[in-house]
């Protein structure tokens, strides 16, 4: 099935203090219809910026994209003007954000904010839009849609606001939903409900979802494919089961070892801590960016840029190690 989103060799630089600072270098990944791709990485890895590059909400606007292409259902987005992008946003590409407390307009009711979006994209009357809005709220399991519609955002709890935001995003049945860490600010129990909602939306209406998170646990439960980013570059992409069980890139392996788990291991044993610090993506550095922290770093890693290796079943790794990092090595 032809992927609805094909990003190849995307590079982005933002207007910085002394000239444009590169923050994304040669990012490639694709997303099929009805598939959930997990975009994983630590803060500063550029995962949110990748999302903003797709629907062009980058601070510098369209001109921040300095290279590569973003194909949405065969159509090239990078060249689009702001006006053209407006027809895509909300209709074909929807987005939800991390901070539920500030993501809705405080001086408008939920009804007003939902009907505005529907009326713009689907040329409906306000009455029809209200019905569709109430119907959307039911879909996201809000118990009393009528009352919620007439509420102001400050009257709703964090979890409720996140559901309203999902309802708004899905109200025009978009083909792609970008979720920028939607559950990070929520409690564990509420987070599980939001994950359930996203899974439901994906299965029922076939919406492709890019799920951005720094929490490997959430990603492993929700996503069928995973892309791991490090300091503005794509370290590894592949099916979730493979990336989690047989990670090809040393960074992914180290990240998995650093995640505290409570199923295995005794109390008070030590977590594997990756030495050193994440480099600032805007610094120009030769060779593989993970080299200074990588236990397998070879001389070539410090000089050459690592190629993309294919490990089969669309599992790709950008690393010099033959067939990626082997199983038995320094990282427990």
């Amino acid at each position: 099935m032809e992927p609805i989103l094909q990003v190849s060799h995307l590079s982005v630089s933002l207007p910085g203090k002394n000239g444009p600072a590169p923050i994304l270098k040669d990012i490639s990944f694709s997303l099929k219809q009805g598939e959930i791709l997990g975009l994983v990485g630590e803060s500063g890895s550029g995962k949110s910026m990748t999302a903003f590059a797709v629907n062009q909400l980058l601070p510098g606007g369209g001109k921040s994209i300095t290279g590569g292409s973003v194909l949405f259902a065969g159509e090239e987005l990078t060249g689009k003007t702001e006006k053209q992008m407006q027809t895509f946003r909300g209709k074909d590409i929807a987005m939800i954000f991390q901070e539920p407390m500030t993501c809705l307009n405080p001086v408008f009711t939920v009804k007003r904010q939902m009907t505005d979006v529907i009326m713009i994209h689907e040329k409906r009357s306000r009455k029809e839009a209200e019905i569709q809005a109430a119907d959307m709220l039911k879909k996201v399991h809000i118990r009393d849609p009528e009352r919620t519609l007439s509420c102001y955002p400050y009257e709703l709890s964090g979890g409720m606001r996140q559901r309203v935001m999902i309802a708004i995003a899905l109200s025009c049945s978009p083909r792609l939903l970008i979720a920028d860490e939607p559950t990070t600010a929520l409690d564990v129990t509420v987070q599980a409900q939001i994950i359930f909602l996203l899974q439901e939306a994906c299965q029922e209406s076939g919406t492709g979802i890019i799920f951005i998170s720094h929490d490997l646990g959430v990603v492993s439960q929700l996503c069928s494919r995973i892309a791991v980013m490090y300091a503005g570059t794509m370290a590894e992409t592949g099916p979730a089961s493979e990336v989690l069980k047989a990670p090809g890139h040393p960074y992914t392996k180290a990240l998995l070892a650093a995640v505290p788990r409570f199923t295995s291991g005794g109390v008070r044993d030590r977590l594997y801590a990756i030495p050193g610090m994440v480099p600032d993506p805007s610094e120009i550095q030769r060779g593989c960016l993970f080299a200074p922290r990588c236990p397998h770093a070879m001389d070539i890693c410090r000089t050459e840029h690592p190629p993309i290796q294919n490990l089969g079943n669309q599992h790709q790794v950008s690393c010099f190690l033959e067939k990626g990092v082997s199983r038995g090595d320094g990282i427990s």
Partner: protein, 316 residues
Amino acid sequence: MTAFLEIKDLTKTFTLKGFFGKKTDVHALNGISLSVEKGESLGIVGESGCGKSTLANLMVRLEEPTSGDILLDGISIAHKKEKELRKLRSRIQIVFQDPYSSLSPRMTVEQILTEPMQVMGQYTSRERTERASELLELVGMRSSSLRKYPHEFSGGQRQRISIARALTTEPDILILDEPTSALDVSVQAQVLNLLTDIREKMKLTYLFISHNLAVVKYISDRTAVMYKGRIVEIGPSLSILTSPMHPYTKELLAAVPIVGKPFCPPRETAHETGGTDAERGCIYYDRCPIKDEKCRRERPVLEERQEDHEVSCWKL
């Protein structure tokens, strides 16, 4: 024999002044009783709003409890006046959650680390600087950063400076109020390992507060689960995590996403909780899948069901 740190029926109620003198009481803590041995690490886990941060503030007396008592090595610190409290304060210190607001932006690292000793009037100024650079090395940072300002450091490094500051007064107990929640996974691992090493080296007692169950397992021997200002279950960390008894603990563990664990959709009844709880009956009544008539009428009390594993629920 009383334990090293004894918390007796601690309660904290905030009164919100409505108009016309109409007061609404919010019970942040509702009769918390805990005892911690010297050198032990007790984990406290709960969702936001369960009162765990209020407990942290009470332990270091940033606020005074409404009732109940806190005994540090037999000495009550709950209701002491500021003057008598001063000597005891050096024995109990805190590390806050937010790396970006726990260090003063206008002070160098040296000033930050020497401030506690200055306030307490310990050591000469030369000794203080020496001790500051010693502690910096202890937390894995170069003593050359003494002259730098907080904005020149990453989140993980700032937490290390906060830990160093808490150690300057040679405390017996460290209150850790979600010290790694704002950090990335790899940085969190570094800070957790550091805390474990320091605890062994300096024989410290920890009160580790977090909303992340998995993190608590790595650092605490025993764990208490809090819900709406009360302790619903307390026991050895491993048995709490592998064989939980209270329905709320089970709901929490089911919801925590673990790498490789299949996702089980949440029960429909788990809806938004909020507002004040019912006066009588179990506080978890409205979300409990196994509730019955007795739960509605009587409030369960913490009882020991297994070896050193207490839970407050009628249905077990």
